[in-house]
């Protein structure tokens, strides 16, 4: 019924869920690194972009699908590690403002490199395009990628959760996110937990790259840039301090964005970002600590 009022069909709902799921993964990727480094990695979108180019080149070279996916992971993970080694580690003790500006610089650097090497016209990542075909579920056409995205996102989130909850390095990462200084004095190796967070975050960026190229096969230097900004807004909306609220924030903004995109008449869809960010500002005015946090907890950090 509500769907009827919003002029949304089941297909749009499925696509919105899928976008929410992909944004949730990006939120986890950003939130994990923020937890251990207190660093908002603005260059996260460029990791996704690099992965997308890997997929595009793999399909241009007619590589088999699995090889393209493998290349995507290899490129994104390698780039994550390089970023950690060259930027995050040397700046680790600097103020959050310095690190944020540094990640801006990295983001624009990578974008410019992509522009120089691959040109402004973009490349097509087509090897996973068959996932755009619909399947019919009780009379409703739903694109395969919507189902795949939701399933993959849930699996990834469960895997990250298990890793954080059940493994020693996961426990150390959670402790480091709460009180890094004390964790180190207990013998927790800083480089190990940061490296772990960066790697997981990179793996998630690779997964996101795969999902996004199915929806948007044209890979340009600003690929995933807009998504990153929206996800960052979502992460702040949910509550940057904690992984679960940040993830919910990412999902919420992806879902809302997908739903609005489907509900708005085509002539008005250019207002989508404005509506989205107006909503973010409104929510933050009312709940400055985030939509999904309990007020007191996040204040304790300060």
């Amino acid at each position: 019924m509500i769907l009827g009022i919003l002029n949304v069909d089941w297909q749009t709902l499925a696509d919105a869920l899928a976008l929410g799921a992909v944004y949730a993964l990006m939120a986890v990727g950003i939130g994990l690194v923020f937890g251990v480094l207190r660093l908002v990695n603005f260059a996260y979108g460029q990791l996704v972009m690099a992965g997308a180019y890997a997929l595009a080149f793999a399909s241009q070279w007619n590589w088999p699908r699995w090889a393209g996916i493998l290349l995507c992971f290899a490129i994104v993970l390698a780039l994550s590690l390089v970023m950690d080694r060259l930027v995050f580690r040397p700046l680790r003790t600097q103020s959050p403002a310095v690190m944020l500006v540094a990640t801006f610089a990295v983001a624009f650097l990578l974008q410019s490199v992509a522009l120089l090497w691959f040109g402004p016209l973009g490349k097509i990542a087509s090897s996973l395009a068959p996932l755009n075909r619909p399947v019919v579920i009780s009379g409703v056409d739903i694109r395969k990628i919507a189902i795949v995205a939701v399933v993959v996102a849930v699996l990834c989130l469960v895997a990250v959760q298990l890793l954080l909850a059940r493994t020693t390095v996961g426990l150390q990462m959670r402790a480091a996110a709460m009180d890094f200084r004390t964790a180190r004095m207990l013998g927790v190796r800083a480089n190990r937990v940061i490296g772990g967070a960066v790697l997981i975050s990179g793996a998630l960026a690779a997964v996101v790259a795969i999902m996004l190229t199915v929806q948007t096969p044209l890979v340009t230097p600003d690929f995933a840039l807009r998504d990153t900004i929206v996800v960052l807004a979502g992460v702040v909306l949910g509550g940057l301090n904690r992984l679960v609220p940040a993830t919910l924030g990412g999902f919420a903004i992806g879902f809302a964005s997908g739903l609005l995109g489907g509900a708005l008449p085509t002539t008005q869809s250019q207002y989508l970002p404005s509506i989205l960010f107006a909503a973010v500002i409104l929510v933050l005015l009312i709940r400055p600590n985030g939509l999904f946090t309990r007020g007191r907890e996040s204040l304790e950090r300060v």
Binding site: T168, L171, Q172, R174, A175, M178, D179, R181, T182, A183, R184, M185, L186, G187, V188, R189, A190
Partner: protein
């Protein structure tokens, strides 16, 4: 053999000299006290030993090897465990998870389960509440957890930063009794405290720090000599 040696230690934060020319030693099976008013440089000394405060001059040696310039995690893993001021429990983690974090300081993971078991025996309350969220424990229970967490690393040296702070007298007894038991097991203990009289009574010897400098050293017999204690603090 002397396990921990601090020699002419100087700690500087910018222009502020928090610790000046401090020397002390701790042997296995010995508690050395470090007392003095707020801002005397007690915590700075412990942080300098841990590699978490800037050492401007002097040396810190563990079993002969210098620790100066090492990262906190490397100092911890080489055999020094710290019970930090304010306990620094991870409030959102369970008691058991807090204890397992202490295992990060072990030189080898072999025998970790036995070490946890021994910590439980020393502090039964930690075992009883192991499934609870650590933040829900009382201050005294958290302090016991903090000491247990340090002990599971099986260090050679245990540093404690004001473990009795904010605890009820009955709980202070529990903590100080535990420290006596820990000394019996052969650990070298460096105890920073504000409760001067109790610390002097417990420790094998006790250094009084003021303005970053060692003013005098008291032994156990001085615990009853209130005048001497007061004079040491306010000289």
């Amino acid at each position: 053999m002397t396990v921990l040696v601090v020699e002419n230690l100087e700690v500087r934060y910018g222009a502020v000299r928090a610790v000046r020319g401090l020397s002390l030693t701790v042997e296995p099976g010995e508690i050395v006290g470090l007392i003095g008013p707020n801002g005397a440089g007690k915590s700075s000394t412990l942080h300098a030993i841990m590699g978490a405060a800037p050492v401007a001059a002097g040396d810190v040696r563990l079993a002969g090897a210098s620790l100066v310039g090492r990262k906190p995690e490397d100092v911890a893993r080489s055999g020094i465990a710290l019970v930090p001021e304010g306990r620094r429990i991870f409030g959102e983690l369970s008691v058991e998870e807090n204890l397992r974090l202490g295992l990060a300081g072990r030189r080898s993971q072999a025998g970790a389960d036995d070490a946890v078991e021994r910590a439980y025996e020393l502090f039964p309350i930690v075992r009883d509440f192991r499934r609870r969220t650590a933040g829900a424990l009382s201050g005294g229970q958290q302090q016991q957890l903090a000491i247990a967490r340090a002990l599971v690393a099986e260090p050679d040296v245990l540093l404690l930063d004001e473990p009795s702070l904010g605890l009820a007298p009955r709980i202070v007894d529990v903590v100080f009794d535990a420290l006596a038991a820990i000394r019996e097991s052969g650990l070298a203990v460096l105890l920073v405290e504000q409760r001067a009289q109790r610390t002097v009574a417990l420790a094998d010897r006790c250094h009084v720090l003021s303005n970053g400098e060692l003013r005098l050293t008291l032994d156990r017999d001085d615990a009853a000599d209130t005048e001497k204690l007061v004079a040491a603090y306010f000289s």
